[in-house]
């Protein structure tokens, strides 16, 4: 069990180290990278199955130091589900990259960096310690900084400045808030913190909660703090964009969910009402930004923000149904958004640009690509029977049940506007006549298996989640109950102390 819990950290670490020395040997590094991603997928799937069939929460003490003194890894159902979905999209991104990424970037250590990114992401999902979470965030950020500007194109360095400076600012907020919280509580272990904070003056906690909200809000791309995202996500190569779109902001959302269910539930009327307002405005501004854009990847970047709003909405309600909708939305969104970026990449490859004015007529030559695009696009908008419909239905039901009528109305309207924006891409890229001047066809010919396989796999996951999502929904509901049961989390972590003392360890 201990090994299974540490594998999601150990595999990326090992692969990151192994892939760097072989980075100049293309075929070998491709084979190693795909093997690593597949192994990670298998390990995380095993972990989820183990948790679902077992008691649902497992704890490992690193170096056998008992909590709250040592660092613990805690896997509950939310962590395990996030690990599995992230392993799935990173598998897809690695396979897609083997065809897409140019040799120059590969020789600079591209795959090594992808696994370093996964190391940070998986660590953040598993850790049960606040400062350790900061360290994993930094690991993830450092890898993402380099991935973002790798290749040093003009657009990349420009997007990089915005991404780096705002994310560094977020890290500083995180660090300051951690320092203040340590000063108040004298501990940084999540389980211990949630126990100690119950008896702390709520006014001081409100300030700390706001600091954490800002720090994770920047990383998640929540309403007033999202500006770095649409400025930078469309600049790196397509697989990097897709990977960032799937993973990075979701780690921010995960951290928000963790902190605002486990630590700061002292005054939901204040903290969670602010979250609710932010969620509504995030949905709205994101989709309006997307409507104004005219470039495939920029439209998709704005939709990330809009969809983040739905996840925060579920969290802000702080009801079992609301949190279940957040968890299901996270799972659905990661798959769908990554897939949309992959397909957007095919558009860019076909026409040499993602600008909607200069593309068109794709449905005549490649109707199947149009159908493949419609699956994630309709899912994003929430058309039945795809996964997005289930996710949106859950959010709206949770909103109505909690009497948050205004925010629920916004959620419905934003769904329609998302559909409009997806149809804009469909009309421009697939339906209208081909562009009049001859198309700059950079890499013509049939697409390779490495590019198509990830798209097919992710599209079938989307269809599966919509048609037969019952087991996933059950996991999401159980995860939500776990999130609301803080004493269960504390008991699970501290039972480790009793065990290790009992066995003399």
């Amino acid at each position: 069990m201990d090994l299974l819990l540490t594998l999601p950290i150990l595999i990326p670490l090992t692969w990151s180290l192994v892939l760097y020395p072989v980075r100049r040997r293309r075929a070998l590094s491709h084979a190693i990278a795909i093997t690593g991603a597949t192994l990670l997928l298998g390990a995380t799937a095993l972990l989820l199955v183990f948790l679902v069939s077992g008691k649902g929460i497992e704890v490992v003490t690193i170096g056998s130091w008992p909590p709250p003194y040592g660092i613990v890894l805690v896997a509950d159902l939310l962590s395990a589900a996030m690990l599995l979905v992230c392993a799935l999209v990173s598998w897809a991104a690695v396979v897609y990259s083997t065809d897409w990424i140019d040799p120059g970037r590969e020789q600079a250590g591209y795959y090594s960096l992808v696994f370093a990114l996964l190391l940070g992401v998986n660590g953040a999902f598993l850790t049960g310690d606040l400062f350790n979470l900061y360290v994993w965030f930094e690991v993830m950020l450092m890898a993402s900084f380099v991935l973002l500007v790798l290749g040093v194109e003009r657009g990349q360095v420009e997007g990089g400045i915005k991404y780096v400076s705002l994310n560094l600012l977020a890290s500083t907020f995180f660090l300051s808030a951690t320092g203040i919280l340590y000063g108040i509580a004298g501990t940084l272990n999540f389980a211990d913190l949630s126990r100690v904070l119950e008896s702390v003056d709520p006014h001081i906690l409100n300030v700390v909660a706001a600091l954490f909200g800002i720090a994770f809000g920047i990383k998640a791309g929540v309403f007033p703090l999202f500006f770095w995202l649409p400025a930078s996500y469309h600049t790196p190569p397509v697989p990097v964009s897709a990977l960032f779109a799937g993973l990075l902001t979701k780690v921010g959302v995960y951290a928000l969910i963790r902190v605002f269910t486990l630590l700061f539930v002292h005054d939901p009327g204040w903290t969670h009402r602010i979250l609710l307002a932010c969620a509504a405005l995030t949905m709205l501004t994101g989709v309006l930004g997307a409507l104004a854009q005219h470039d495939v990847r920029r439209i998709l970047s704005f939709h990330i923000i809009s969809q983040i709003g739905y996840m925060i909405f579920g969290l802000a309600l702080l009801t079992p149904l609301g949190l279940a909708s957040s968890v299901f939305y996270l799972i659905h969104h990661i798959v769908v958004k990554t897939n949309l970026f992959f397909i957007g990449g095919l558009l860019e490859r076909r026409f040499g640009t993602g600008l909607l004015d200069r593309v068109g007529g794709l449905f005549r030559t490649q109707a199947w690509l149009g159908v493949l695009f419609l699956i994630p696009a309709f899912s994003l908008a929430g058309i039945p029977p795809l996964s997005g419909f289930v996710a949106k239905l859950l959010v709206i039901r949770a909103g109505l049940a909690a009497h948050a009528y205004l925010a629920t109305t916004i959620a419905v309207v934003v769904g329609l506007l998302t559909l409009l924006s997806m149809l804009k891409i469909w009309n421009e890229a697939f339906w209208k006549a081909p562009p009049v001047p001859a198309v700059v066809n950079e890499r013509p010919g049939p697409y390779s298996v490495q590019v198509l396989l990830p798209i097919f796999v992710l599209a079938s996951v989307t269809v599966f989640l919509g048609l037969a999502g019952e087991p996933i929904l059950a996991v999401a509901q159980r995860a939500a109950e776990q999130l609301l049961d803080r004493h269960g989390y504390q008991a699970a972590v501290f039972s480790i102390v009793a065990e290790s003392v009992g066995t003399g360890g």
């Binding site: 400062f131 900061y134 360290v135 930094e138 950020l141 450092m142 900084f145 380099v146 500007v149 290749g151 040093v152 194109e153 003009r154 657009g155 360095v157 420009e158 997007g159 990089g160 400045i161 915005k162 780096v164 400076s165 560094l168 600012l169 890290s171 500083t172 660090l175 300051s176 951690t178 320092g179 203040i180 340590y182 000063g183 004298g186 940084l188 649409p230 400025a231 930078s232 469309h234 600049t235 104004a292 854009q293 005219h294 470039d295 640009t353 993602g354 600008l355």
Partner: protein
């Protein structure tokens, strides 16, 4: 002592925010360095400052006598310093590359990735080597 630290941290944050709001990329980076140091000092003073009382268990006893320096913030700050140093080295390299690519130190000129509806023709061109680039860029 804590009051002194609080004033120090506040001053660092204030100066950093002022620099972050300037248009120059170099000042932005200096601002990030200052705010990082401010956060480190905040972390350091978070557990309370105690002079000359290391948390060591004396021979023959099993606990540390009451007022002792908390070792945890010191461990945290070491980690934070190493991380912020690494990140800042990257940031400095990045502003150098930005200067090579765009020949400007003005954040208001970095609008091509935000501008609506158009994509700069040069967006996906690699940064050209130093020397040759700057003169031709300024000419165009």
């Amino acid at each position: 002592m804590e009051v002194l630290f609080a004033i120090m941290v506040g001053t660092l944050y204030g100066c950093a925010l002022y620099l972050l709001l300037r248009r120059s990329i170099v000042k932005l980076t200096v601002g990030l360095i200052l705010i990082g140091n401010g956060a480190n000092l905040l972390l350091f003073s978070a557990g309370g400052l105690v002079r000359g009382r290391p948390p060591l268990v004396l021979e023959g006893t099993s606990t540390v006598p009451a007022p002792y320096a908390d070792p945890l913030p010191q461990a945290l700050i070491l980690t934070a310093i190493v991380i912020s140093f690494g990140v800042l080295v990257f940031a400095v390299a990045l502003i150098y590359q930005t200067y090579r690519a765009l020949a400007t130190d003005d954040l208001d000129d970095l609008t091509t990735t935000d501008r609506l509806g158009e994509v700069s023709e040069t967006a996906h061109q690699p940064v050209v080597p130093v020397g040759t680039s700057l003169s031709s860029d300024q000419g165009s």
